[in-house]
Amino acid sequence: MSDSPRITVIGGGPGGYVAAIRAAQLGARVSLVEEREVGGTCLNMGCIPSKALIFNAEVVGLLKRAEEFGVRVISEPAYDVTRMLERKQRIVQTQVRGIHALLKSWGVALIKGRGRLIGPRAVEVTDTGGAVRRLEADRVVLATGSKPIKPTIFPFDGDRVITSEEALEPRVLPKSLLIVGAGVEGCEFGFLYQALGVSVTMVEMKNRPLATEDEEISSLVQREMNKRGIQLHLAVRVEKAAVESTRVAVTLSDGQTVSVDRVLVSIGRSMNTEGLGLEEAGVLLGKRGEILVDDRMETRAPGVYAIGDAVGKIMLAHVASAEGKVAAANAVAEGGSHSMNYDVVPAGIFTQPEIGTVGLKEWESVERGLNVRIGRCPFRALGRIHTMDEIVGVVKIIAEQETDRILGVHILGPHASDMIHEAAIAMRLGAKASDMAEMIHAHPTLPEAMMEAAEDVHGSAIHLPRRKVPPAGGPGPS
């Protein structure tokens, strides 16, 4: 054991704890330093708690429509916010305990406190009581994550003007909520709060919600917002926000003023890089404040690695985990040549209905001047979706015209975030649209829409009418 490397990981989120476990699996002696709770933002203040609440909204949504299914609900369904939050907290606690148990089973020492580099080979940990200890390390992995951006024009008070962290703890639901930013987080909260009976207004400076997603997905999401009565102000900025006793008055750049009970600012996240002793240790930051790393996740300070939101590549929990595994492998076998590949990164967006996405968007194919063929299958073309009575949505496949290889897949519909993985593995293996089309898909299931969309790339979907304009390269099975 004595010649196994000592590795210290700072930050116990989905990047850090995964890196710690992987390093331990590979034989390192590992310490994991975490100031708050393992699981990081994702588990404690992000992905998991928000999905717990979103599920509540789904349950009530179904109950409200029960009559359509021939189910009689005797009294009007209502939310018990206290119990919802208890349930959410229980889910988080179970996961936190699970991570503690995993760390223990792999022999990772969890050290509570705030870590900072003392040069590239040591970490100093200050606990909440102010006690300081020093950990010698052969290699260090920085996994310090990110935090919500809080521009000074917003008078944040944790009550009337809040970030996502407080939005997950709505002890009292506001009657009205204005969300600044219609990105992934903003849209998820928008649909959630609307479902909870809150009147939701969203303000976005771009001209569509989810502006980095495929444009068709954006327009479908926008329509779903319209259906639910979510007010969406596009291509405007917030000029001013002022707390006036119990309300917040928000002035928009188009001159409009909106008065609401609460404002949620959801305009992005900034990297946690302060007070970490980075400069002294030789770790360099980029223009956006991100820790600069090579594709092996090593910083400019040899032996110091960095992963996750702090390196600002793609701010997703599962990307952080993947980066953590790469960093761990390289840190254990010093000079290891594992490298990160960001070509195929599936992602879920938990709007209603939800979104699954991987690879190239149509607007990107236009920007890059690629020749592509696009196949679509609206879910309502298939039987299974009608049994669920959730007919909204589409599978859209973008394939390269010359090679027929699948370059991107975008799904809006029930279970889209689960379904996207078929597309991801197909892309990872370099599959063509025709491979996807020829693969037998079980009936009756939602992924049949994937097969039909792949067929539609060549204009030969069975459950869609003949196209008015045949796809480039001619219609018919390839």
């Binding site: 329509r223 609206p378 309502r380």
Partner: protein, 128 residues
């Protein structure tokens, strides 16, 4: 079957002219082809539209289909009742299922549309 006195567009919209105003809806043929209508995306009141332009969308259990206007002008009103009861488009396409009212800027556009007899022949031709 096809009401007299209305004007018909090749994309299966009808208009009823009331002086400078056109009431617009989709035809019985269109609603039948679409199946059960579940949602309509309607334009904002006050918006200027040009003939041939897509002004909204009808979502049915089978498909999603654009609504075109065959006349230019300004949207005077949208049928708010369709928000709660989109099935009116199926039940009463020429009456309670109307979609928008347009203040026409060029009423001669309406004259160029098909009358009931011509639309009937057009449908027959399409069916053959």
């Amino acid at each position: 079957m096809i009401p007299e006195g209305l004007r018909y567009h090749t994309e299966h919209e009808w208009i009823r002219q009331e002086n400078q105003t056109a009431v617009l809806g989709i035809t019985h043929f269109a609603q039948d082809a679409l199946g059960d209508v579940v949602y309509l995306e309607l334009p904002k009141v006050g918006v200027e539209v040009r003939s041939g332009q897509e002004i909204g969308e009808v979502e049915s259990t089978k498909t999603t289909s654009p609504v075109y206007t065959p006349v230019s002008g300004k949207i005077l009103a949208v049928n708010e009742e369709l928000k709660e009861n989109p099935e009116l488009v199926n039940q009463d396409p020429y009456g309670k299922g109307w979609i928008v009212k347009i203040q026409m800027s060029d009423p001669s556009e309406a004259k160029r549309l098909m009358d009931a007899r011509e639309y009937g022949a057009y449908l027959k031709e399409k069916a053959d």
